[in-house]
Amino acid sequence: MREVAIIGVKNTIFGEQWDRSFRDLVVEAGVGAVKDAGITGEKIDSMFVGNMSGGQFVEQEHIGALIADYSGLAKNLHIPSTRVEAACASGGLALRQGIYSVASGMDDIVIAAGVEKMTDVPSAKASSALAAAADREWEGIMGATFPGLYAMIARMHMHKYGTTSEQLASAAVKNHQNGQFNPIAQYKNKITIESVLNSIMVADPLHIFDCSPITDGASAVILAPADIAHEYTDTPIYVKGTGQASDTLALHDRRDITTLDASVVAGKRAYEMARMGPEDIDLVEVHDCFTIAEICAIEDLGFAKKGEGGKVTFDGETAIGGRIPVNTSGGLKACGHPVGATGVKQAIEIVEQLRGEAGKRQVDGAEIGMTHNVGGSGATAVVHIFSRNR
């Protein structure tokens, strides 16, 4: 198996982009990543694109072909392009498939991208499309919503460990604090614990400021074998570990409501491959689709003891400058959550941090970073570990 490096990256702006289409977004990200890597289209061997629900958001399937076509890689070059879907983990999984294809030796230069265009439909329709990541027949039919499922995780976490609404809110406050320094972030305003607690209740105990928004955006990275990465860039970022795990589709079937076993196992697999542990990680992008999801994630990945994620967050240990900075990009909460793009965006944040290009949100001396991308309420998790050193 060959080692793999990221040699180029590009995010579009994340936000409500009514003047731009699905294909506009993904082409901007793809072309931007190709330019960042200093390659040309002829060099690309294959593409993997994460997209959760083109069918429901823009009434478009066959996303792989569409993207190859509008990127100018279809008609003359006929470059293979594959869509990857795992709900909100589609982007992370597309990246992982790209890594597989380079590591296997089948391909040298690969684009891994993610895209979601969510604001072409009313927000009720968008919520309903997202709810399809849960079990339609046994959760959705009872009136379950995504905030509702995570609210049930939050209620249990509070009951079992004494986690408070203030502690949950502190994750959102911290992510907005970080997001204001991210040029692509959907929200660049600071918020307070009071404003989270005073925002409208969506699914008790989660307020609307506990929830990530609906977002348009696309992200793309270029992968290459580590052996030749220096031919393209002075700052390749190496993939040291990748892990993926599945769990039951429905929340009610999980072993423990407050632990995402898929996160634990995907993390363990990535740590083992990288021969590292939580103590080696300098910063991490976790899947904070809701504040409680960030709390569970830092516990499940080993950055806090089970039950102490809320306290650790409230105490500032996960802020930039803290013990383990979490979601320096602003996370899904402030940077935005175009579901198919998020997993790739997380990797780009780590790349920018490890290159030392993160500006005011730079983590000093960052050498090793992790990403954690979750599908649904935890039925899929994808974890990657990246390093600036080979």
């Binding site: 009872m142 009136g143 409208i200």
Partner: protein, 129 residues
């Protein structure tokens, strides 16, 4: 949800009929045709649950799922049946009376409707026991 898709699981939804693995003794609701522990060694049969259970966790939904707009606020919960399996359901009653560990019993209720003039979906919700 389409009519055949709902109709197919009507008995399971109306009468809390799930399945049971004779090989290892585990019970499944929602029903499964493959025992996750025994896999192809498993022996699956239908099983009607008593419906007695307790609340594992719950939430009060204020921003409704599509088709549930008229019902807010409603209580969504995970209930553990006395035979072991857990399911997602609604608890009928006042949100402020809910608590983790509360004992509940099943009731036959309307779940929703397909559009303005479509089929009415019935199924099982729960009430405080």
């Amino acid at each position: 949800m389409s009519v055949p898709r709902f109709w197919r699981k009507q008995i399971a939804r109306y009468n809390l009929v799930g399945t049971h693995c004779k090989q290892c003794g585990e019970y499944f609701y929602p029903p499964r045709n493959m025992c996750p522990s025994c896999r192809r060694e498993g022996e699956i049969e239908d099983f009607k649950f008593s419906g007695q259970g307790e609340v594992v966790t719950y939430t009060v939904i204020h921003a409704a799922a599509e088709g549930f707009e008229g019902q807010t606020p409603y209580v969504l919960a995970i209930v553990q049946l006395e035979e072991g399996p857990r399911l997602t359901t609604q608890i009928v009653g006042d949100a402020k009376d809910m608590s983790i560990g509360m004992k509940v019993s099943p009731v036959f209720r309307k779940l929703g409707q397909s559009g303005d003039r479509g089929m009415i979906y019935y199924g099982t919700k729960f009430v405080p026991a």
